[in-house]
Symmetry: C2
Subunit: 204 residues, 2 copies
């Protein structure tokens, strides 16, 4: 198997990432949303994806559904498996970023350590940890799928914010507060942020 790796190292791609990014008019990057269930991560992700696509960007959401039923279907719910789940997602994000894609991830990802693993994999200035902030009380009130109710009744174990801790980001690149801003506003904040960071270029 070492043979394979050697084999491929030997051949360099004739298309550089720089060339791809120049054509796309934006850099590839990883936007990593973290926050409680019902904080608004996925909803903002969907809105942001649409806005970036409309600006002509190559963008895709890497979602738990795709990943859990495919790449990570061999993983269970032990501590080790949860860590491995995040590690693989981070590695796939890295591959996406290397294709010049804006990769949007929306996972609760409650532990700083796991988010740092993701950050360490991505090149400087192209990983954005975005804290989607809503208080646990607010999220319990929203509870769109009744999950908090079940968690509080003890019907779901290890539920973040109820029976499992959530570590808020120590140094997120951005915080969006979904108690103060609506989804549209949050997505716009993200677009402006990406422009300011030079990820979107050429008038995008």
């Amino acid at each position: 198997m070492a043979v394979r790796a050697t084999n491929v190292k030997w051949h360099q791609s004739k298309v550089s990432l720089e060339e791809i990014e120049n054509r796309n008019g934006h850099d590839g990057c990883v936007i990593w949303f973290t926050g409680f269930s019902a904080s608004g991560k996925s909803t903002i992700a969907v809105e942001l994806e649409r806005k970036l696509f409309d600006l002509g960007c190559n963008v895709r959401i890497l979602d738990g559904d795709n990943v859990r039923h495919g790449l990570n279907k061999d993983l269970g719910f032990t501590k080790e498996d949860r860590e491995e789940n995040i590690r693989r997602i981070a590695e796939v994000s890295k591959l996406f970023r290397a294709t010049g894609m804006i990769c949007i991830n929306a996972f609760i990802s409650p532990f700083q350590k796991d988010r740092d693993i993701a950050r360490d994999l991505i090149d400087e200035g192209h990983f954005f940890e975005v804290f989607v902030n809503a208080s646990i009380e607010e999220c319990i009130t929203r509870d769109p799928k009744g999950m908090y109710k079940k968690a509080m009744a003890g019907e779901i174990q290890h539920f973040t914010g109820i029976s499992s801790p959530y570590e808020a980001p120590a140094f997120p690149e951005l915080v969006v507060d979904t108690e103060k801003c609506n989804i549209e506003e949050c997505a716009n904040i993200l677009v402006t942020f990406l422009k300011d960071k030079g990820i979107l270029r050429n008038g995008k």
Copy 2:
């Protein structure tokens, strides 16, 4: 963890694959090269990537180097690990295809069973098993990195074609013969093939 999957299922993307493909002017797909070491897989892959990029396509090679040192770095070289290696590569290819990308894979992938696992993951008409054909005698003569020499001297174990079997594809979508055609010709055959299959559109 089931919570996460449920969470994401609930939110549908507002950007369909059809919309992405219409904008790109081509479908996403997976081109899976298989063949002996030194048959020309990676060289053709690099050439094809360049040609497709120049045609305006979103295309990327998924290479053993990236994958083995990242996503699959926890895997060793047992039979199970080799199978898992291919399974994960196939799952990542599926994710690439779902972003509208033409994903080019170049792995020896000697076993039909493993290639079939990849095929089964990708939607009908978007997985192309391409047999890069050169006889083992020819590959031994080429031996660009002296790997066959080492394998025949017993310095490398389980080397495909020498001490480990290679199962030629039973029903490949395409065969390119690198004893009869040069790299440029093989890459052109692939481009024509993708046009004929309707993967490339809008004059691409």
